[in-house]
């Protein structure tokens, strides 16, 4: 392992590939079983059982769904813009997954004498004796969240159907309104951590009451709600409102392309929960009897449960209510939070 490539030891590259594979497979599996968990949890909240017949208590349901979607006929509307129609699901899916590159999901582990941080886009600098990661990690995540909406808008436009177009337009309007509030909500975090590096933000939250959720409860709630709106989860699922827009932007999609939108939706949910965990719930910090990544996964899963809980509870917002909430309630609140933090934090 003494071999070096571009001034970095070989173990760095091997660790990178292993981390990417493990995280990718883990997220994919979570996406698959999030669909199952969602149906099960919402079912029980409505005093039903949810899927029961595919495998023990319906445990094979995601596999059955996947196989079904895979073998469905691919339909491309004759009046659709073929290229945009085909590329849109990819644009929706890829940003949802690559957001994980900067999220630290565990402490540094030592393999064969090398320290490897459990974060994909990071390495341990032996000379400086610390973990180097992307120093604008949060900006990267916010940027990817904005790219994701292109998939939805393109899908809506390329389908050449009025419902899809309305869904796509709603999505972009919603994104712009809530991205602003979400971005401003986490500015108070940067004011406290004085860094945009997620590694540093997590390091600052060591100790139980060091979590930013205790120091910034308002920012936490605002950011989580705005994130729900950004990823089009209920109660903000206007772009794909089934009852009014016949599934909105994915009306004309079938087969695997539809599945990709579905996966993107759930992957986005997981990303948002992971980002919220990192920024507010202390990342991988937790009592020492479990390794860091266990705490991280537990916190993310808890937040995913909260997303589903919210979905089972609230009806969809009306369009004007959504805009009023974003611009007249959340935006002033986040600005107020920044001002108050400015006075208190120092």
């Amino acid at each position: 392992m003494g071999y070096e490539l571009f001034g970095l030891p070989m173990i760095y590259y091997i660790a990178m590939v292993v981390k990417v594979l493990v995280v990718f497979v883990f997220v994919l599996l979570t996406v698959a079983y999030a669909t199952y968990a969602e149906r099960k949890i919402i079912g029980h909240m409505q005093v039903r059982l949810g899927p029961m017949r595919t495998g023990w208590h319906g445990l094979l349901q995601p596999i059955a769904d996947g196989v079904k979607l895979f073998f469905k006929e691919e339909i491309v509307p004759s009046q659709a813009d073929k290229f945009a129609f085909l590329i849109a699901p990819v644009i929706a899916l890829v940003p949802a997954f690559i957001g994980f590159a900067v999220i630290p999901f565990g402490d540094t582990v030592e393999v064969a004498g090398y320290k490897i941080p459990l974060q994909i886009a990071a390495f341990y600098d032996t000379a400086a004796g610390k973990v180097i990661d992307l120093n604008v990690g949060v900006l990267y995540i916010l940027a990817l969240a904005s790219v994701g909406v292109y998939g939805i808008v393109l899908a809506g436009w390329a389908s050449n159907s009025k419902y899809s177009l309305l869904g796509g337009l709603r999505s972009s309007a919603q994104m712009i309104s809530y991205e602003l509030a979400a971005g401003l909500a986490i500015i108070s975090i940067f004011m406290m951590s004085e860094s945009l590096s997620l590694q540093k933000i997590v390091a600052d939250q060591a100790g139980l009451f060091g979590w930013y959720v205790f120091k910034q409860p308002l920012a936490f709630i605002l950011f989580f709600i705005c994130s729900l709106a950004e990823i089009n989860r209920t109660p903000f699922d206007l772009p794909e409102a089934e009852t009014e827009l016949v599934s909105g932007f994915c009306t004309e999609y079938s087969s695997m392309k539809y599945a990709m939108f579905f996966m993107a939706e759930y992957a986005n949910m997981i990303t948002v929960c992971a980002v919220t965990t990192t920024l507010f719930l202390g990342g991988w910090h937790g009592p020492a009897f479990l390794p860091g990544w266990c705490w991280f996964v537990a916190k993310v899963y808890f937040l995913i449960f909260v997303c589903m809980w919210i979905r089972a509870t609230y009806p969809r917002y009306r369009y004007d209510q959504l805009m009023r909430l974003g611009w007249k309630v959340f935006l002033p609140l986040t600005l107020l939070n920044i001002v108050v933090t400015g006075f208190i934090a120092r």
Binding site: H44, M45, R48, L49, W309, I310, T313
Partner: protein, 132 residues
């Protein structure tokens, strides 16, 4: 403004721990109430149907699904030589049971009446006879 939202969350969380009301139908079967109106049955007495072919049931039937033809048996008694109910027309109102003067027809708890052919939905006297 915030409290109703939190109360809603509380309610859904409480419901999650309730026993689901779902009946896993083909595995678990429902028990219909005693006055459930399912498939008809012709009551039997002394090894033959009690029906005396008085034609009150086809008269009262709002769906006109009952066909009765009278016959005469060895004791010169009137009996129903043909008694058919078209289950595709029947609305399970139970008027035939109410109208019957000799308590010859009743309704059972059977509710699974699916079939493959239209002809099979016309239940004849033999199939309707009360199973002992």
């Amino acid at each position: 403004m915030i409290m109703p939202l939190i109360n809603g969350l509380k309610i859904t969380l409480k419901h999650m721990f309730m026993k689901p009301v779902t009946l896993q139908y083909p595995d678990e079967r429902p028990t219909p109430s005693p006055n459930f109106r399912g498939l008809h049955a012709l009551n039997v007495s002394h090894n033959k149907a009690k029906c005396v072919a008085c034609y009150l049931c086809p008269t009262v039937c709002p769906a006109k699904c009952i066909t009765v033809e009278a016959g005469e048996d060895a004791n010169h008694d009137k009996f129903a030589s043909v008694y058919e109910i078209d289950m595709l027309r029947c609305i399970f109102c139970g008027y035939c049971v109410e109208a019957c003067p000799v308590d010859a027809i009743k309704m059972t708890q059977t509710f699974e009446l699916a079939n493959y052919r239209r002809e099979d939905f016309v239940f004849t006297k033999e199939t309707l006879l009360e199973k002992k």
